[in-house]
Point group: C2
Chain length 214, copies 2
C-alpha cells in the first residue's frame, strides 16, 4: 500500500536550513555564511555514489548502507508534493532535466498549465485541500509511495493533519544556531512518533520514525 | 587518560526537561503534565535491567546493547561535577544512599563541609573556576572518567569552555514543545562535534559525539 513520507536533513540543533538561505541571497552564499553551513548540513548526500551518479557529478563517491538507503528512498517515490515557495526557489536552480523523474504536485493558488521537463518530471499546479491533493498523488504513484518534498510549511501541514506515515531525519553533527526549525511546528497533541530504524555512517545518522495520528 | 563526558536525555525537539519540572512543582507532577512528559523522556532508562538493579526497583528489565552501555557508562565515572541548583533539587529527592557512589563536586559559592552519604557518594562544595574544579575531579577520578552531571547551565559552561571530550545524547521520539533546550546555548564557534557511535533500541537512540575545541 502506498505510504506517505517526509525526508529531511536536520542539524543537531534542529534546523532544516541555515539562516539567510533564501532566493534573494541565492547568488550570495557568503551571506551569513549560508553556503558553508548548507554544505556542512548536506555534504554527506553529495558525497554518496548514488547522488553523484544521479546529479551527474561524476564517478566515485561513498558506497555502503547509507548509499543503499538513498537509492532505495528515491526508487520508492511515485509522486512528490511540494509547496509553492519550494517550487519557485527550485524553478531557477534545477537543471532542465529536473531531478525528480516522476510527477510533482505544486500546491499553489496560481493557475498554470502542467510543465513537463526532460527526464520524466512533470510539475502540476494544483489548488486543493491537503487530502484532495494527496489522493491525486496516490493515484499517480500506483504501487509506489508519495513524498512530501517540502518546504517546511507544507511538511508541517501534512504532518499535523495526520496524513504522513513516515518521517526520515538525516541528522548531522553540526550546530547552525539560527534558521528554520522544523520540529517546533509539530503539534504533539495530534501525532506521535515511534522509532522505525536507524542507519548511520561516520558523518550522518539517519533516524526513521513511523508517524501515528493521536 | 581521563575523559570528560556529558550524558543527557533529549526529546526529538531538543528539550532536556519538560516545562514546569522545577523544585516548586516537585510534588505536583500534573503541573503542565510534567510527570508524564518526564516519563516519556526517561522511561527507557527506568526499564533497563541495570537501572532497576541500581535503583533497587526490583528484578527484571531490558537487557541488550543499551543496558550494557548504561552499565559501562556508570562504571567509567570516577567523579561527578554538578551545579548548585541540580544539587539542591536532588538533595530533597535522592535517597540516603545517593545514586552516585563516587565523589560529587558541587559548584557553589556556599561554604559547606563535605557531606558523605552511605554507599560511597560524598558531596564536596567548591567555589573555583571550571578548570580548577575539573583538575580536582580528574585527580580524584584516577584512571576513571569525569562526568559533568548537570544541570544545563553547568554543562553548557563546560562545553563552551572546550573542556568536554564526549557528548552522549539519549534521543527519544517525543516532542515536548517547551522546556529547557540545551543545544541552543552551544557556541559553534568554540566547539565542533563528530559522530563517535550510535546505539539504538526500539524506544531510544543513543548518539555519542566526540567534542573538539575549534
Amino acid at each position: 500500500m502506498t505510504k506517505v513520507f517526509v525526508n529531511i536533513g536536520l542539524s543537531l540543533d534542529g534546523y532544516m536550513a541555515p539562516e539567510g538561505m533564501t532566493m534573494e541571497n541565492w547568488e550570495r552564499p557568503d551571506y551569513r555564511n549560508w553556503g558553508v553551513k548548507w554544505g556542512a548540513l548536506m555534504g554527506w548526500a553529495l558525497n554518496l555514489q548514488y547522488f553523484r551518479e544521479n546529479l551527474k557529478l561524476g564517478p566515485g563517491g561513498e558506497t555502503g548502507p547509507v548509499n543503499d538507503m538513498a537509492r532505495h528512498t528515491t526508487d520508492r517515490i511515485g509522486a512528490n508534493i511540494m509547496g509553492k515557495r519550494m517550487f519557485e526557489e527550485g524553478e531557477h536552480n534545477w537543471p532542465e532535466n529536473a531531478p525528480f523523474h516522476v510527477p510533482v504536485f505544486v500546491l499553489t493558488q496560481e493557475k498554470r498549465q502542467a510543465w513537463p521537463r526532460p527526464g520524466g518530471t512533470t510539475f502540476h499546479f494544483v489548488n486543493e485541500s491537503l487530502a484532495q491533493l494527496l489522493a491525486r498523488a496516490r493515484d499517480v504513484a500506483g504501487d509506489k509511495d508519495v513524498r512530501i518534498a517540502g518546504g517546511g510549511n507544507v511538511i508541517l501541514q501534512y504532518l499535523n493533519a495526520g496524513l504522513v506515515d513516515e518521517l526520515h531525519i538525516a541528522l548531522t553533527p553540526v550546530l547552525l544556531g539560527q534558521g528554520l526549525r522544523l520540529l517546533d511546528g509539530i503539534d504533539s497533541n495530534k501525532i506521535s512518533l515511534q522509532i522505525d530504524k536507524t542507519v548511520h555512517s561516520p558523518v550522518v545518522t539517519h533516524l526513521n520514525y513511523t508517524v501515528s495520528k493521536r
